[in-house]
Symmetry: C2
Subunit: 205 residues, 2 copies
Amino acid sequence: MSKRGYHHGNLRQALVEAALALIAEKGPQGFTLSEAAKAADVTPAAVYRHFTGRDELLAEVARQGYEIFAALMDYAYDNGQPTALSAFEATGRAYLAFARKYPGHYQAMFESGLSLQGNPELAAVANKASGVLEKAATALSAHIPPEKRPPPAMFSAHIWALSHGVVELFTRGAPGTRSPFPPEDLLEAGIGIYLRGLGLLPPDA
Amino acid sequence: MSKRGYHHGNLRQALVEAALALIAEKGPQGFTLSEAAKAADVTPAAVYRHFTGRDELLAEVARQGYEIFAALMDYAYDNGQPTALSAFEATGRAYLAFARKYPGHYQAMFESGLSLQGNPELAAVANKASGVLEKAATALSAHIPPEKRPPPAMFSAHIWALSHGVVELFTRGAPGTRSPFPPEDLLEAGIGIYLRGLGLLPPDA
DNA sequence: TGTACATCAGTGAACGCGCGTTCACTGATGTAC
DNA sequence: TGTACATCAGTGAACGCGCGTTCACTGATGTAC
């Protein structure tokens, strides 16, 4: 911690980052306002210059997470050209990559128990993130034989759920089981089988 | 609460049930030893006659959950005869049914952050539960065309992850999204597509 | 059947702790003259 | 360039709270005689 005077400089963001480190290290319940303040070398009361309280700080962490998440998904989508299929697969991979690379954000978003109700700004940015996956699903939808075409929202939900389940069950020292396979491989294979079921991959691949 | 004297009768199980109700109502973090004791009409100190502390009470809740879960999965498996396929599908449905019917147990097992490390008894009963799904997957494995046959542990993990993701994301007033579809339908459709991808369902169903 | 007694499940008071939050304050910063 | 002053980001002490846990105790239960 460099010498700083009475004033911090950018305490707001420093608190967000302290919270992220705490959450990544000890889980969403390990985060407390007091410890975040201490990690930022500041009195707990100083937090109230920047946030209305504990919940708003946590919400800001999640908000930044959704922002990064949406950008990452969008990047993966664009980058996943040339085909709608490869773009879609890329967003699935991006989900897991995000969870791995930004564990603090991920847990704040999905495991901290904060509610999107009554926080319109947070809900909006969350929708932005899920919008990317639905966009990818819609684009892909055109390539699905009509007789087995589910609504795009449905198979984007499937991929989302599968990805989330893999993260929750198999990426940490999680309950239930230790990972029988590398999570990336598990997800990749699962998505592959699923897309084959949709008729989007050759049945003998 | 009926009149009871100084002695409770079966406080141990009453505390487990109080904890379950608290968890189901307010989430795993809403559970405290003190509130569970109060709900059972007893002083917090009385808890220590039956458990070494808060963690052991929570672990017992989870243990009973795994027990019920394993029994339910096993029942679904047997009941899913006549074919390996229908038995497998039944276990998938049982996962979601369990989460719905026993939300307190479910959250204690998967969302309370308790660790299976250093609790061999809990780990054993957890393995019993996942063992059923693997058994179902292994039986099904024989029917998969060899060139697209993943290890049974892998597709049981896929189904487990998909089910878990659906529960986490779409069954409560969850973060991320409100459910676009009834979770049961979502899971059923997802498993269907997945099994078609494995060559276990006709491609045109 | 009646009494003495051991057991042990529960009480209730107390503890130390860390939490989120409040408040009057202080002192560094940067602007006006 | 130098001084006076307003701003406001941070301090530090204090609060009430509920938590998990401990301890000496009490009184209901059930057994031995």
